[in-house]
Symmetry: C2
Subunit: 325 residues, 2 copies
Amino acid sequence: MLRSRLTKRFKLDHPVISAPMGFAGGGKLAAAVSAAGGLGLIGGGYGEEHWLREQIEVAGNQRVGCGFITWSLKKQPHLLEIALDSTPAAIFLSFGDPQPFIGRIKQADVPVICQIQTVADAGRAIDLGADVVVAQGAEAGGHGEKRGTFTLVPEVADLISARASETLLCAAGGVADGRGLAAALALGADGVVVGTRFWASEEALVHPNMLAAVVSASGDDTLRSSVIDILKGYDFWSARYDLRTLRSAATDRWAGKEAELRAVAEVEVARYAKAAAKGDARRAGATVGEGIGLIHGIAPADTILRTMIGEAEGILRKAPAWIAT
Amino acid sequence: MLRSRLTKRFKLDHPVISAPMGFAGGGKLAAAVSAAGGLGLIGGGYGEEHWLREQIEVAGNQRVGCGFITWSLKKQPHLLEIALDSTPAAIFLSFGDPQPFIGRIKQADVPVICQIQTVADAGRAIDLGADVVVAQGAEAGGHGEKRGTFTLVPEVADLISARASETLLCAAGGVADGRGLAAALALGADGVVVGTRFWASEEALVHPNMLAAVVSASGDDTLRSSVIDILKGYDFWSARYDLRTLRSAATDRWAGKEAELRAVAEVEVARYAKAAAKGDARRAGATVGEGIGLIHGIAPADTILRTMIGEAEGILRKAPAWIAT
């Protein structure tokens, strides 16, 4: 068990939040993370109403939260009401201006977690009254931007100190073990948001072929691009956000040739859908971050969390020994 | 004072190496860092023989090392002999295959530090017998690649544990204060290589206008591109390496339009040289990393180092308090 401002505010055993991964992060994973003493989040993603209701149901009585892609939620704001009806532990917003939703969430007395990718957006989230700011570095799997976790976290920590010191800060992007958790605390975070490590868990909604394909991968084998978004038929993201995935035949073929790909998108989207349905990891692109290089097996979420906390405790306990006497 | 395998092996007070920054990192800065208890390195850069001899002279009796751009050193291997004649504390090689030089350096009984940007290259450096591997993340100023510091460091640490546990590991890219130093140790490093923070020091060979321009910058204001290389007339780097600099009128104009720029390079190189000579920060691109957002003033190198160590000691001393009892 670790204690920080995050564990205190959210009454957790561990300062660890599971990233609300679209598709992969359902109610089962969120509930398992919360049951193990962290804060589990359901990945509301683009907003499938049926799926969202189902996953909230699956989470049962566990106290979990829900995440949304902010620009997508704007098209279907009723999904926020569905999430709020479940009295969630938190609502997590990322990729877009949180302003239209923060008032409503606060009115429901639910904590708001805003994920940002730049210091500029951190400033806006703080000013809008986010309870928690998540500084997400480019190492992260899935959508994101260019700043690295290692510098974004302390720069946002300084901004919070100067502007609204009661705002909490979590690090996201590359936190896959206890070393990352301990490092995030040292950089000034109150906790971490963990995606890839929980993506590779027994509870995640991921095709077993994809899981099998990633456990031997290095972080070197991932890249940021828009290729997989285009191939999934999601070619409507703002150019500021791209997507980190594992390299695959698809990214090898199309990365840097997005215009060419768009010209044949119709055919390629259909082919990709077939490959993804079969869990064909050679053709499809597993949505994982650089932290995949630190992951060597699939495990239950509670084992993942306990291992991470144990490692972090070991590092933090021995830290004073680095000081020369 | 902190102790680690790096301080022990190199007999240092602090596990901090100054990055061998081409042009900016001369003998004065290297000597100041070594005098303050770290390990100072002269930035041999592309290899100006006269400049190198001069800077070794300036460093005087201080025990400093020397860094080279590996692919460039291959064209002028006699520069390595000049450096070895000064009985350097270490030779630091980055950007290219170190194989042609490692034997000669070891024969001279000088430690070899190999900076790498991928796990694959880390493996090669370890196998070639590097004494220290520096894992450089994309946050770094100047040349580099895409991996983030936060995941590259622990992944290389695991590789070292598995393959050659006596090899030392330093983190580079975004280490600008004591939080970064403490985090690097938590991630598994034995020490850090610090560039940008020492770039913004009184001893660095940087135009005062450039220094003045950067102290208010955020890490958001930097980007990786090949634009400044092309404008400096250094358009001979392998495409795998680009360069992080501060945004400027030049990068705003040309980033993403490198082919167009190359077509008018002759005129633009001449214009850029004039702007750079005047320290025109609006037009030229200061070679700094994302860590610039953590830097708010110019200071002498020994103050920088003392402040960083003091901060790191504070964090490491209090680290056990994160463990809940």
